[in-house]
């Protein structure tokens, strides 16, 4: 029963994201699959930010205060647009047109999605970072009906809040803490990533290729683990999902140049900064890139569409300042630059690249594609650039840590690669499509 309740909340989150997206943000060319995936990203972020603002205003949370505005907007949207049904969603008829291989791949993909979904709710939270941080904070905020400032002194952490805030909405709908069914929120990042990956490939490749590479990505053991099997309850898959979503929307924006997409990108980047600090280097680079493009086009008015991003970051930074939140735990003992660590750090990352247990051979294929076929990527070269920049930033962090980095790298490199693995799989797909098309 609890699982069903959480599923309703997730559908509500998707509806909140979908209606807002359709009204203000999505391109008309976006497929319904892509919209559903992005709607989860948007709805999850919007509700988290809403709960954060309510807390700052001193308003104790309850179901009505949080959901009523959304409910009104959703009803208004569907009544105004007369969208009561989707005739083109006759999935069974479409599947009948699939070839035998496509049907097999679809079965495998759906089986993976179902398997990971079942795994996610099979056990109470098991991952260390889950009960130590992300799920724990959801418990605290739910019990306090808002953000409890003593919490920050107590836990000495300063992580962004969207994930624990939105997931605590799940507890509110249950009326109690259930750290098993709440993991569905984390599973849905896996699910939405699959949808977004498939729909993004469909823009330039046939259905068979899109299905194949979606299966290849979603069958990575590390994704399966963070999506549901033992490691659900951590934010790293969400970071990977948001980074991938931002890159896809950025690529779409470069193609279509629509201001709606620019705003969508800004909103997704803003939410990404509040998922986990690890997303910030990517956000900075992509924002610089967008600003450069706007300045180059001399369409300065477009810069206004970027305003939500500094507002969200500034809001969070001011909150940290006023509440005396502790600095990030990695740098509490200061910063020391150890350039001599560079080979060790890079070696350990390469060791993780070769970890077939976690990644199959995705990183080997990716490196092969980059070395041999980078010229085939054209404008898509941005995708591996974002990937390498993000990894370079992590390498830099390990050079700056006062403590010995090797233990840290071994413990977290699989999580760091999770942030960029969708970009790697996407790069491979682009290369494969271009090479085998000829």
């Amino acid at each position: 029963m609890n699982i069903l309740t959480i599923l309703y909340v997730i559908i509500f989150i998707i509806l909140a994201g979908y209606t807002t997206g359709e009204y203000f943000l999505y391109a008309k060319s976006y497929s319904i699959i892509k919209k559903i995936a992005l709607s989860y990203a948007l709805g999850f972020g919007f509700i988290g930010i809403q709960m954060f603002i309510l807390s700052i205003l001193g308003i104790k949370w309850n179901y009505g205060i949080i959901l009523t505005p959304w409910l009104i907007f959703i009803c208004y949207f569907f009544l105004r647009n007369h969208k009561y049904s989707y005739h083109n969603l006759n999935i069974l008829n479409k599947i009948k047109l699939f070839s035998r291989i496509e049907k097999l791949l679809l079965i495998l993909l759906v089986s993976l999605l179902i398997f990971v979904g079942i795994e996610s709710v099979l056990r109470p939270v098991q991952a260390w970072d889950g009960w130590d941080n992300w799920v724990f904070r959801a418990n605290v905020f739910y019990l306090n009906k808002g953000i409890d400032n003593y919490y920050f002194s107590y836990t000495t952490d300063s992580y962004p809040l969207i994930i624990p805030l939105t997931t605590s909405l799940g507890y509110m709908s249950l009326g109690s803490i259930d750290d098993r069914s709440i993991l569905l929120f984390y599973y849905f990042f896996y699910f939405a990533l699959g949808l977004l990956f498939y729909s993004s490939i469909r823009n330039f490749a046939d259905r068979k290729t899109a299905l194949l590479f979606s299966v290849l990505l979603l069958s990575c053991q590390n994704l399966i683990r963070h999506g549901g099997r033992f490691e659900a309850g951590q934010a790293d898959l969400a970071v990977g999902f948001y980074i991938f979503a931002c890159v896809i929307v950025l690529l779409d924006y470069l193609k279509i140049k629509s201001t709606r997409l620019l705003l969508l990108l800004t909103v997704l980047l803003s939410i990404a900064t509040q998922i986990k600090n690890d997303a910030i280097p990517f956000v900075l680079l992509s924002t610089c890139f967008v600003v450069y493009k706007i300045l180059k086009e001399k369409k300065y008015k477009k810069l206004f569409y970027l305003i939500p991003l500094p507002l969200v970051i500034l809001g969070w930074e001011l909150f940290k300042k006023f509440n005396n939140l502790h600095p990030n735990f990695l740098f509490r003992n200061g910063i020391e630059f150890h350039i001599e660590r560079f080979p060790i750090v890079v070696f350990n990352f390469f060791k993780e690249f070769g970890n077939i247990q976690n990644w199959n051979i995705i990183w080997i294929v990716f490196l092969f594609c980059i070395v041999i076929y980078r010229k085939h990527l054209g404008t898509y070269i941005l995708v591996p650039i974002f990937l390498f920049f993000q990894l370079l930033f992590y390498v830099l962090i390990f050079l700056l840590l006062p403590q010995d980095p090797v233990t840290q790298i071994n413990a977290i490199s699989n999580k760091l690669l999770l942030h960029v693995v969708p970009l790697a799989a996407f790069t491979i797909t682009i290369v494969a499509v271009k090479v085998f098309k000829k």
Partner: protein, 155 residues
């Protein structure tokens, strides 16, 4: 490397990846029967016990003794025990005894009503303990198979 060989190599790599992905996906799905059936029959408490072992039993014991919303000190040599205590005992707040000044400084309220020790080292065992200039009296013992594993003291 010639273009043709690169193309063949890429095809082989993607083929191998596909093979691995399909095999492992099927293996994963089969785990629903081979591995997960041992979990499905358990309730949440039993699952937590299976995963966290004696630590979870100790924390359940603590929860049954200490009223919620208490403020307690936990002396432990094991980080996992501390973070599990923080998670499972909330809204009771748990401060790590050995690190209370280095980690928290003056940011926290220090009116502890209980002090708990787990796992025990030989020097822990006494009826009265003086912590932060306050006396705490032993009120409960946690034993596994007759062996003393943890102690709860009250102010």
């Amino acid at each position: 490397m010639g273009k043709r060989y690169s193309k063949i190599l890429l095809l082989l790599l993607i083929g191998l990846w596909t093979l691995l992905a399909i095999t492992r996906s099927l293996l994963n799905i089969s785990k629903l029967y081979t591995e997960e059936r041992h979990w499905i029959s358990l309730n949440d408490e039993q699952m937590r016990e299976k995963q966290f072992g004696e630590k979870y039993n100790f924390l359940t014991f603590v929860k049954s003794v200490i009223p919620p919303h208490s403020n307690i000190l936990l002396f432990t040599t094991d980080g996992m025990t501390y973070y599990l205590a923080r998670y499972f005992l909330y809204p009771t707040t748990v401060i790590w005894g050995e690190r209370q000044y280095t980690e928290w400084g003056n940011d926290i309220v220090r009116n502890y009503s209980y002090a708990i020790f787990y796992p025990l080292t030989s020097q822990n065992i006494s009826n009265v303990k003086t912590i932060n200039n306050t006396n705490f009296h032993n009120i409960k013992e946690f034993r596994t198979n007759g062996e003393l594993k943890g102690l709860i003291y009250k102010k």
